[in-house]
């Protein structure tokens, strides 16, 4: 099989694929073509579409390859799809971050870090399939230990967990600007 044929076939497979596909999966379909060739073809597609600023990009995400729209076109795609924008609240993001970096972790341990109850957030994250119970901790009560799912990687465009942004060291932490923070303590004192 010609190399250009392989490339064309891989492109077709990527188009019809539901979810990220592994190199292994492509190799299974393209019998007789060695993995190195498929890998090279995937890298080429990735580089070419990037260079040509194409509307569809090939990204490595959640342990496989997937076609995604170019970020620059987000507004147009959103307008076309017409759905409500997917917004994620701070509580959700913070809880997800803690679970992502500290997994496996219990609810009590998350609450110790956040200083608030996380029952509701955990329920939402479980429902959205972004986290799952991976085991039970061997302590009294045998609480669930939570970890992230492949869907989490897909949502945040992560190839795998090792590609999470590096967590800051404790001595690197400084307080960021907090926008719109007006507490009228003075007005309170006036009373």
């Amino acid at each position: 099989m010609e190399r250009e044929d392989v490339k064309s076939i891989v492109e077709s497979l990527l188009f019809v694929a539901d979810g990220p596909q592994t190199l292994q999966r492509f190799a299974e379909v393209l019998e007789g073509v060695d993995k190195d060739t498929i890998q090279a073809v995937l890298s080429e597609l990735q580089a070419e579409w990037e260079a040509q600023r194409r509307g569809v990009r090939l990204v490595e995400v959640g342990g496989g390859y997937q076609l995604r729209t170019a970020k620059a076109n987000a507004d147009w795609v959103k307008k076309f799809l017409g759905g409500r924008p997917a917004r994620m609240g701070r509580a959700t993001l913070e809880t997800l971050a803690i679970i992502a970096y500290r997994q496996p972790i219990t609810k009590a341990e998350i609450e110790a870090i956040r200083g608030v109850d996380v029952d509701g957030v955990i329920a939402t994250l479980l429902e959205r399939n972004l986290i799952r119970a991976v085991a039970r901790k061997d302590v009294p009560g045998r609480p669930f230990l939570y970890g992230t799912t492949p869907e989490f990687l897909q949502l945040f465009n992560l190839k795998d967990l090792t590609h999470l942004p590096t967590l800051k060291e404790m001595d690197e932490i400084s307080l960021p600007e907090i926008p719109g923070d007006i507490i009228s303590l003075e007005q309170l004192e006036e009373k």
Binding site: R68, A74, R114, L155, F156, N157, P165, L167, I183
Partner: protein, 260 residues
């Protein structure tokens, strides 16, 4: 006098403390505990004045702060003998604040990524029209109402000539729907409304459908979010329907023929 008060939403006591530390332009590692405690308590009071629900965690932190403040006031060495010499009473709090800030930063970084369905998109799964094997999800009332709204939106607007109301009763529609399902077992929600021209008839059809769901003569479901909605004859449709519909005083319907 109405004072306009803007209060940011705090995720919890640690979040509020970080906010106050930032606002006072002091270092996390050297918190002026008296000032921060005072402002923290004032904020809680403000939250209560605004009838915001002040969660228990905020109160626990308040007592922690007051405790630390009192320990700071004691002269060095005057502590109980079993307490460690020279330990800053703020230490544990500082550690918690730094730890929390660390994950707040991490959350911010995650938020910067190319998030699926916000920044980047994948191809939608192809819609399936055929009735596949079971494994469908039951629909919520809200999804049904959404579907009804789409039907109504499709109706021609302001049809002034449409004065003569077709007298179609809910009961009649129920009978028609049951006849249809006896013939073909399942039907697409949208196709029920395909021929319907008036708002009145849409509503009557919809009510008939709900009535049949209630007596468990039919089932309504969908095989994926936002997929086509299917209506299907339930296992005991005829028995269930008998209790609900089949009276003989069915008014003649002029548009469609109906079975007995």
């Amino acid at each position: 006098m109405s004072t306009h008060v803007q209060l940011p939403i705090f995720e919890g006591p640690l979040d509020l403390l970080l906010h106050l530390i930032k606002k006072n332009e002091v270092s996390i590692t050297d918190i002026p505990i008296a000032t921060i405690t005072e402002q923290y308590l004032a904020t809680l009071e403000l939250m209560e004045t605004l009838s915001l629900d002040v969660a228990g965690e905020f109160l626990v932190m308040a007592s922690t702060l007051v405790h630390i403040k009192s320990r700071m006031l004691l002269p060095a060495g005057a502590d109980e003998p079993d307490e460690e010499e020279g330990v800053d009473p703020r230490e544990e709090l500082i550690r918690r604040l730094l730890e929390y800030q660390r994950y707040k930063d991490a959350a911010g970084e995650l938020d910067q990524r190319e998030i699926l369905t916000r920044d980047v998109f994948i191809r939608a799964a192809p819609p399936t029209e055929e009735v596949g094997p079971r494994g469908f999800r039951e629909l919520s009332v809200f999804e049904l109402l959404g579907a009804l709204k789409r039907v109504i939106d499709r109706l021609p607007k302001d049809t002034f000539h449409d004065i003569t109301l077709d007298k179609i009763t809910v009961r009649e529609k129920m009978t028609l729907l049951l006849d249809l399902l006896r013939r073909q077992n399942s039907v697409l929600f949208d196709s029920l409304f395909a021929e319907v021209k008036s708002r009145n008839e849409v509503v009557v059809t919809f009510l008939a459908m709900l009535e049949l769901v209630k007596v468990q003569a039919i089932r309504i479901f969908q095989d994926e979010m936002a997929g086509p909605i299917m209506i299907e004859a339930a296992a005991g449709m005829d028995e269930a329907a008998e209790h609900a519909v089949i009276d003989d005083d069915i008014v003649e319907n002029k548009d469609e023929p109906h079975g007995t």
